[in-house]
């Protein structure tokens, strides 16, 4: 149990996907302008990450390993993620139209989010069990959502700040990310 908590905290805070591993930066800078969008995107990523980790774990251990074709993992994982995103999109549209409208265009974009493929590859490299893989995906997704929400809040305020013209937009967002990253370094001693 403590092992699982360790994995969760490690993925969410210490090795945060955005600030320490540099995965999923495109949505991070693209969608972090408004708080509500950021939360929707974070939620969608959390959902897809957990689902994709669950599915790819079974495929890796019950299909790729028995037939000795582990070298196919890149092709297989990306296809699984693409299909999974499609299915989730259809399922959400049928069951919860409000959520669907809130997530909107962000769902299809997740296919090419490197954080999702990243978490499945990390699970495979670390040889996680099923429970560990799901917990690591939950942690990673939670950390992603947390940083995205913090960032959007800061950027909403930055719009009002008096910045030099050349720093407006992305450059200052990167500086903020740097400061957030420094703050997150403090979590390093937790485990």
């Amino acid at each position: 149990m403590s092992n699982l908590i360790g994995i969760f905290l490690g993925m969410a805070l210490i090795n945060n996907f955005i600030l320490a591993r540099f995965l999923g930066l495109c949505p991070f800078f693209g969608v972090s302008k408004k708080m509500s969008n950021a939360i929707s995107m974070g939620l969608a990523v959390l959902l897809v990450m957990t689902g994709a980790s669950f599915v790819t774990w079974f495929i890796f251990h019950y299909v790729l390993v028995p037939y000795n074709v582990q070298f196919m993992h890149i092709v297989v994982f990306i296809l699984v993620i693409a299909v999974f995103v499609q299915i989730i999109e259809m399922a959400i549209r049928r069951t919860n139209i409000t959520l669907y409208n809130a997530l909107g265009i962000y769902l299809p974009l997740i296919t090419t989010n490197c954080a999702v493929l990243g978490v499945t590859l990390i699970n495979m490299n670390e040889n996680f069990s099923l429970a560990e893989a799901v917990v690591s995906a939950l942690g990673g997704g939670f950390g992603f959502m947390l940083v995205l929400a913090m960032m959007s809040n800061i950027r909403e305020r930055l719009d009002l700040a008096d910045l030099p013209d050349s720093f407006r937009g992305i450059p200052v967002a990167m500086l903020v990310a740097m400061l957030l990253g420094l703050a997150f370094l403090g979590f390093g001693g937790m485990i």
Binding site: R21, F71, M72, L121, F167, I170, P171, G181
Partner: protein
């Protein structure tokens, strides 16, 4: 010939994938801790980009437009697998230090972006020039970032274990923050601001 050359030059300057289009930031930030990594990553990205651009351009007539994106992804994933396995076999130490970012080339927006925006509409020759230009543009960007980070973060410049030069004073007390992940954000933020100040990014 003029058009091919223009496509090639555009990839490095006017549509530089990293500094102007802001695509594929993840690898640029993550592996830019040393020049060795930068060169290795550029080589890997260029190989995949050229191979996938040519393949997509050849098969563009046979692929129904409804399934084109999945087709492109499978093509890219195949070339990425080739790159990943060859790198593990012949350059194990480089493969170790690039780590997860070699398989992640598959979701690099630069490559899928070029396949969709350029190679699926243009001839094989133009697609090759485009891939070469965009690949070099990515290379130039990651090279600049790694140069600054390695210089300030370690105080010395080395390439494949040859030490080129040391900065007196700095090599004893390097500014370690530039090697840490935060350093990448800092360097890119200032580079982007600088390019914008110089008017390169006016069209944004």
């Amino acid at each position: 010939m003029g058009r091919v050359l223009e496509t090639f030059i555009n990839g490095i300057t006017k549509s530089n994938p990293t500094f102007i289009l802001l695509l594929g930031l993840c690898p640029t930030l993550a592996v830019s801790t040393s020049l060795d990594n930068a060169i290795g990553m550029t080589a890997a990205v260029m190989f995949v980009l050229i191979a996938s651009n040519i393949t997509v351009s050849i098969i563009k007539k046979f692929v129904p437009s409804m399934v084109r994106i999945p087709t492109f992804i499978v093509i890219i994933a195949t070339f990425v697998t080739i790159t990943d396995l060859s790198m593990q076999a012949y350059l194990p130490s480089l493969s170790q230090s690039l780590g997860i970012f070699v398989p992640l080339i598959v979701v690099n927006c630069i490559i899928l972006g070029r396949a969709e925006a350029f190679a699926s509409k243009n001839s094989v020759k133009d697609s090759f020039a485009d891939a070469l230009g965009i690949g070099l543009g990515f290379g130039v960007a990651i090279f600049i970032v790694s140069f600054i980070r390695q210089l300030l973060g370690t105080g010395e410049m080395s390439l494949f274990s040859w030490v080129l030069f040391k900065v007196p004073g700095l090599s004893d007390n390097p500014m370690a923050i530039f090697i840490l992940p935060m350093g990448a954000f800092l360097v890119i933020a200032f580079l982007l601001a600088m390019f914008r100040y110089m008017g390169v990014m006016e069209g944004e």
